[in-house]
Symmetry: D2
Subunit: 315 residues, 4 copies
Amino acid sequence: MPVTSGRYGYLGPEATFTEAAARRLPLLLGAELEPFATVHAAIDAVRAGEVAGSVVPLENSVEGSVNATLDELIRGEPVTITAELLLPVTFTLMARPGVELASIRRVITHPVAEAQCRTWMNKTLPEATVSLGSSTAAAAEAVARGVTGPAGEVYDAAIAAPIAADHYGLTPLAGDIGDDKDAVTRFVLVTQPGRPPRGTGSDKTSLVAYIRDDHPGALLEILEQFSTRGVNLTRIESRPTGNGMGRYCFVMDAEGHLTDERVGEALMGLRRVCGDVRFLGSYPRADGIRPPVGRGMSNDDFRDAAAWLDSLRHA
Amino acid sequence: MPVTSGRYGYLGPEATFTEAAARRLPLLLGAELEPFATVHAAIDAVRAGEVAGSVVPLENSVEGSVNATLDELIRGEPVTITAELLLPVTFTLMARPGVELASIRRVITHPVAEAQCRTWMNKTLPEATVSLGSSTAAAAEAVARGVTGPAGEVYDAAIAAPIAADHYGLTPLAGDIGDDKDAVTRFVLVTQPGRPPRGTGSDKTSLVAYIRDDHPGALLEILEQFSTRGVNLTRIESRPTGNGMGRYCFVMDAEGHLTDERVGEALMGLRRVCGDVRFLGSYPRADGIRPPVGRGMSNDDFRDAAAWLDSLRHA
Amino acid sequence: MPVTSGRYGYLGPEATFTEAAARRLPLLLGAELEPFATVHAAIDAVRAGEVAGSVVPLENSVEGSVNATLDELIRGEPVTITAELLLPVTFTLMARPGVELASIRRVITHPVAEAQCRTWMNKTLPEATVSLGSSTAAAAEAVARGVTGPAGEVYDAAIAAPIAADHYGLTPLAGDIGDDKDAVTRFVLVTQPGRPPRGTGSDKTSLVAYIRDDHPGALLEILEQFSTRGVNLTRIESRPTGNGMGRYCFVMDAEGHLTDERVGEALMGLRRVCGDVRFLGSYPRADGIRPPVGRGMSNDDFRDAAAWLDSLRHA
Amino acid sequence: MPVTSGRYGYLGPEATFTEAAARRLPLLLGAELEPFATVHAAIDAVRAGEVAGSVVPLENSVEGSVNATLDELIRGEPVTITAELLLPVTFTLMARPGVELASIRRVITHPVAEAQCRTWMNKTLPEATVSLGSSTAAAAEAVARGVTGPAGEVYDAAIAAPIAADHYGLTPLAGDIGDDKDAVTRFVLVTQPGRPPRGTGSDKTSLVAYIRDDHPGALLEILEQFSTRGVNLTRIESRPTGNGMGRYCFVMDAEGHLTDERVGEALMGLRRVCGDVRFLGSYPRADGIRPPVGRGMSNDDFRDAAAWLDSLRHA
């Protein structure tokens, strides 16, 4: 990974869940962080070398389109995933200092946050009205700056990421008010292509497989390249490649690291049966899980088999 | 499909691509349309019988989270897809009547639209600055109402869906200004579960397969239920079922109709090997494609095989 | 099974392992048994209605070609397997009454028996010479009748099936003298096609699948018809169909009975993807094993899935 | 292949189809040929280094058990197939010089030959009786030597392989009298293990795969090791490994040569997922067919994929 600078980008605005994720990534400790308005802008800055990497949402994003991230990985100049992070999604109700919970009549937040906090709001602040903004951070900012709505109304509080309270000088009035206590968003650090971080025994490998012909069984053929080598998939998503809705590719996360023999052989198999394969990186799993390697599928098993074949060929 | 009323919902606000899609669906001609702030709200209104159905984005949405739609289909009270529609995504630059293209200095739009129209903007209006709003419709509304920005600035024009010009009394200054001329968004009409529309010979069947155990090969096992019966998939996406990131399901679109024998047998196979299966509907394909049925997989072939088995069993 | 008479055939000559198998089959208790010179003759007699059925070797035959049986099942007028029997292959050294082991100098037997008893012979009768005959029964007969060899030599003893001692009035001098104490031959009772015996919960189903085109993956496609329905195979053999060496079929034994839902659906699947399928019968397993039915593959699971599909189709 | 001598064995007796095959094998031109009474003896002589190789039947044998050959390949000290030969099976009616066709009343032959020539015999010599001997060669010998039957009867003619006429000084009276004009037997030359003959572009690779556990899908797992690498099978046969009837192995012929990358990778895959794999040799196809290599499966494709993987690993 060619680190071109100590500056990293992320999907903005400031004080959203994505910034919170970027601040937690050990690789980015002490780095200068810069928000970008769109995933496209954040990743293009990586391609242009303006930042060393960018943090973007890849799964279950509360705000921002995950598809935008997928499409950047699928199309354009290749980039690579170097790290992933799972962030619990917890919503906080926040107001200007001195404002009390009981006095809140008008709340602003992002539509997704509104939906996820409705149960709590109905129970705790049944009289309050909720307005919608373009992001949870924009909502917090509107409260902090006293921005008024179209009819001149003032917002008493915002529902936003905990990080927004600090950022905008607001006071948290209630935390973790979302319905889904297990909600988690997955973020990834995207960098220019390069040698992936060393395998840890708990790794994931991401890739895009572009099918050669759109025939029945094309996906099965691709999956067999993995199963034959005992490589498990943790995620798969078909995506149009951009030419209308017709031609598909598959974005996949597999267990294991590029340097694992089973992963390497599966990648070579894909390379042969697919129209194209884009390697998106090998990186440590955020969940730290070390799934057992299937019988016959360890590096030792591959080496033993290679030695056996060699002995047959050179008998 | 129990039509409880002539009212239908859609993901709002008004004058977005989703409203445009709803207005084009033949099934909804003359229906009263009501915008909802979130996909969740739009689909919950279906569940509650407040509307007869709701139109929401399912693939490649410019605005609004497609994952929100998937998660509504995966979780909660079951609902069904009754129709689909593919809408070309074309962005229009629009201003108040009398404003000329050359005089535009400040534009407002949604972040995704901003990214997709950047090439055109750089070429045509290189001096203009672009502000971001929560939706393309909100941007058009801000222009129409003369809403000012945080620093008191006035927006000269909006980039929005063509439908927004009519809706907000704006004048289109330039159409189809996005980079991706083939961009298409897929919308679906969601209704309460019921008997699907009659097969047309060009149909799709959507479903969710919840895996029973998270073992390697679980996905392969599911796909074989389709391939063995000659049923082709046009889309697959793995999604967490909501319990942390751990347990997965697969949302799939298959070619064919519930009443096709091959589709029926594949569904029964899934029902047996999966933890659960949710039928999401059979409906006419928006692209009108009639893919050839594989050799041995027609309804006649199934009937012939059933008659043969019967002759063996009752010899 | 249309029993045309109480007469049954078997691959002769008399007093071989095949006659021993026929005498042990419960279905044939008290039946009149007739030896045929070849498998073809024995099975043609079934086709012609001359006998109600014939017992022939199907696996691991000591004498007689198992391929001959397979080819009769593959080609010509269809016949059916109604029962199977596993017979331990035990060789007995036998001589005329009064002859003692120590005095034996010249032994006659079938080549296969000679090979399998060589260890015992070398140890026990190292001085004896062994001549070869066309069957173990012919060897026993030669000893009984005092037939002389080409050079006028007399045979002191024969190695044959235990049944031959009784049949030819010889005295067993040593039993179970073969090297492979676990050797077992599988015999089947072949009858005219008809409704198979009732399922017992421990059944086998035999069939021939003739591939439609000789394309790579043809066998895989066939096997998936079984695995998708959780039907395990206990035996598979590719055989040319008779037109040169070019076109193949597969003779297979599957676990389960024609009336099991999973077997029925697999058979229908084969019927659709194969050029032709010949059902060779469902019959009780000779080993009495009741393999567990895979999860989701019981008759109840099939019925539940069918009811579910029905509820979707008639919602 | 360590040629220990210029002597080769074959399944005897002399003057059978197997000797005819051995005499046609280019590799054995001018070699000294020795008959063995059984396949076991012929192959054990190879193991002991008494002969440089032995010719035995492997498929569709008229005489001698093909299973005996398979079992020698499956069990005991490993041996290798170095060449194969397809021999048309043509039966000849032969008599002592001076004997005329019309005068023939008593014919002797092997049971399989009797069955295959019955149509011709019924038409041409309807009055003749046919006695059975232990081999076609033994039948020819009996005619040549004037050996009499049990009741003192004399045999006027024998049905045997054409080679037997020369060998025993008999006169062919009618050739190619069998029913199946396309009948072909496959013979193989078995030698001690060693480096296989160089690939010709039209090669076969034989092997035995011993399954690790007898679980449903075990065979499918094995076949996927081939199909994933585009390797087609031309033959498969399940065989018990010798411990009762319970544990199975699969004897397989695959298209391609040990030195083909796709074959090598498939072999390594088998080695990992099977309990054991026995390589039985790569050798030129007797039919000379050069099947097309699947897309993505040529040696160049494998090399390209390996170079690509290497570039990823060492970026």
